[in-house]
Symmetry: C2
Subunit: 340 residues, 2 copies
DNA sequence: GCAACGTGCTACATCGATTGTGCACCCGAT
DNA sequence: ATCGGGTGCACAATCGATGTAGCACGTTGC
């Protein structure tokens, strides 16, 4: 692995070094080592010699130089709010796997739900001349889209839709409706309306879920007062506080809008020694094992990421909105890993 | 944001474009836009003019070209097995935050515990001329270290120690001993030895934890047969199977070696309608809420990542092994987010 | 009036890889 | 011996940013 020592102390081996060692020209070496030599009238023997020397010297192509010259980076970027739950973890893994499959180098940046950081991250990615930016769960997808558009970089939204780039999102309405139905079936229809906890009302996804939640109640003729929809934000602390502030009796069961909120809900139930059935729009393996958990809606990450990559090479329609069905998980089911 | 249209259809703005528009030379523009102009006899007025035009044109410095010229990438890489648990999620977030603080661009690659992918990822990072590679929970840290060393890239190990690069790891022995003590205190000393479940015996961390587990039993004069240490691997399915294959009565309490294994354990308990106290060497917010959970050992991610970054600029001692104390969490405690 | 010096820039080579163009050579046919 | 065609390569320009070396101009000192 050591090979001949570099000329200077620590310079990396370049095609020029390999050219000297193999008495070929740098251009031949370049062509040979990037595989394009078969189209370039180069003798097989030369190629083999060069490849062997390159391997012996531990040559690693300078991808920055390569990208610069070819005006093509082969890098794809993803902007993501957090890594702290299974959903985003699965997205990150799927994204990496698909990118690699396509010969793209994935770069993920986590922006902690900070809109300014999101734009800064986008700018940095543009600096690296990424070929696409995927924004997941972005606080302000359109600002990212505009920043990228100004630099000629195409954006796609995952999970949260935007108006200025195509979006792939879960079918939040249908998923929420199914989950509501499941919970209502379990708790018994005469046990009144459920309580919706978590998320932000302005948030597109939360909005769609609330509609599903409402419509399912309506279909069953259960009246649902506005007080039963607590869009208190996502943080678990906020869910806890919202339950503390409740000025009516805890309903027979809960519809919790994310695992983050569910954390707060379960803590509150424990602290107050209460038990209630609940379902959750989001999936987590341990949350699935909690008693009183009626079901979880798991977003179909694999299908969503697939849909994103399918759209990479076709001309984009910025208003397109792809809706991917969710998967309803009943607790106790054997469930594989995060990759759906 | 649009600015004057690019010469060709879609070329990105370069310092040459800005130079033309501002009637300054490319070198002046470069110096101005990268901030080095204050040391370079350039009039403030010129700088302001150039900066304004650059902003109007939405100029974004080509970081590939910059890195190529400066022979310094400002990129730092991390190799990570999975994103599917809180521990690695927290590491990724901390790593990104610290890297940014230092003005480095973080690149994370997740290698699905595949040694070949690990090396491939390292090679790709070398191609991008990363300045350091941090290997977390790598299957074969030394192979990564050798690959990087051959290219003159420094490696550091996080979580799993290696022999060929400095390592920062949790104090697995002390943490395991504390947890064992906690469980034994809860279950009552005369309830016999605990059962250790999960991990690989060859694994350094698992080894250290088993020693702590054993020593605490020994100190209390509790005999611990080898049959009570099930190093069945990490996957939850394997833990489940190991419990199925148990040929003696389930002990009074369990020491589970990771949240992944814990998933299998809890499923098995549910499926067999058994209840046992358990503790877990790893932390997860929902697992912390499971009944019968006596305590969890949470690795101090923040301190570990700090320790890694502290070592970046000092000359490295390849045999160094920094041990960071763990945090013992009692269930029901209010616990913040993953950032410790 | 001329040297000495300071200011504000520009020119050019360079980082490493890529690729279109073109040259030298060899073989066979005329 | 000469030409056409094929093979095997080398040359040089180029991608965008950077930094050194140096040029032109203006001001001051004597």
């Amino acid at each position: 692995m050591t090979g001949t020592n570099r000329n200077a102390e620590n310079r990396r081996t370049t095609i020029y070094d390999i050219a000297q060692l193999s008495s070929a020209s740098p251009s031949a070496v370049s062509a040979i080592l990037n595989g394009s030599w078969k189209k370039r009238r180069i003798a097989k023997a030369t190629a083999e010699r060069v490849i062997e020397i390159a391997e012996r010297e531990g040559y690693a192509r300078n991808l920055q130089a390569s990208a610069l010259r070819r005006e093509r980076s082969n890098v794809i970027g993803m902007i993501m709010p957090k890594y702290d739950n299974r959903y985003f973890g699965a997205i990150a893994e799927q994204f990496e796997a698909r990118a690699r499959q396509r010969g793209l180098f994935p770069i993920i940046t986590c922006t902690e739900r900070d809109p300014d950081l999101e734009v800064e991250a986008a700018r940095e990615m543009i600096g690296y001349r990424v070929e696409h930016v995927i924004a997941t769960g972005a606080t302000d997808p359109d600002r990212i889209a505009r920043t990228c558009a100004a630099a000629g970089v195409r954006t796609l939204n995952l999970d949260l839709p935007g108006r200025e780039a195509p979006s792939v999102i879960s079918d939040n309405y249908a998923g929420a409706r199914e989950l509501t139905a499941l919970i209502l079936d379990r708790v018994g229809t005469d046990n009144g309306p459920l309580l919706f906890v978590g998320g932000r009302a302005a948030d597109h996804n939360t909005g769609a879920r609330i509609r599903g939640f409402r419509d399912e109640h309506a279909e069953r003729g259960i009246e649902l007062p506005d007080s039963h929809v607590l869009t208190c934000g996502y943080a678990s602390e906020k869910a806890r506080k919202a339950l503390d502030d409740l000025d009516f009796e805890l309903p027979g069961a809960l519809f919790v809008n994310s695992t983050i909120s569910l954390e707060g809900v379960v803590r509150w139930l424990r602290a107050n020694k209460r038990r209630t059935l609940f379902g959750c729009f989001d999936w987590d393996p341990f949350a699935a094992l909690l008693e009183d958990n009626v079901g979880m809606v798991r977003q179909d990450v694999s299908a969503m990421v697939s849909a994103i990559f399918d759209r990479l090479d076709t001309p984009l329609d910025d208003r397109e909105e792809v809706r991917v069905p969710c998967i309803l998980c009943h607790p106790g089911e054997t469930d594989g890993d995060g990759a759906s």
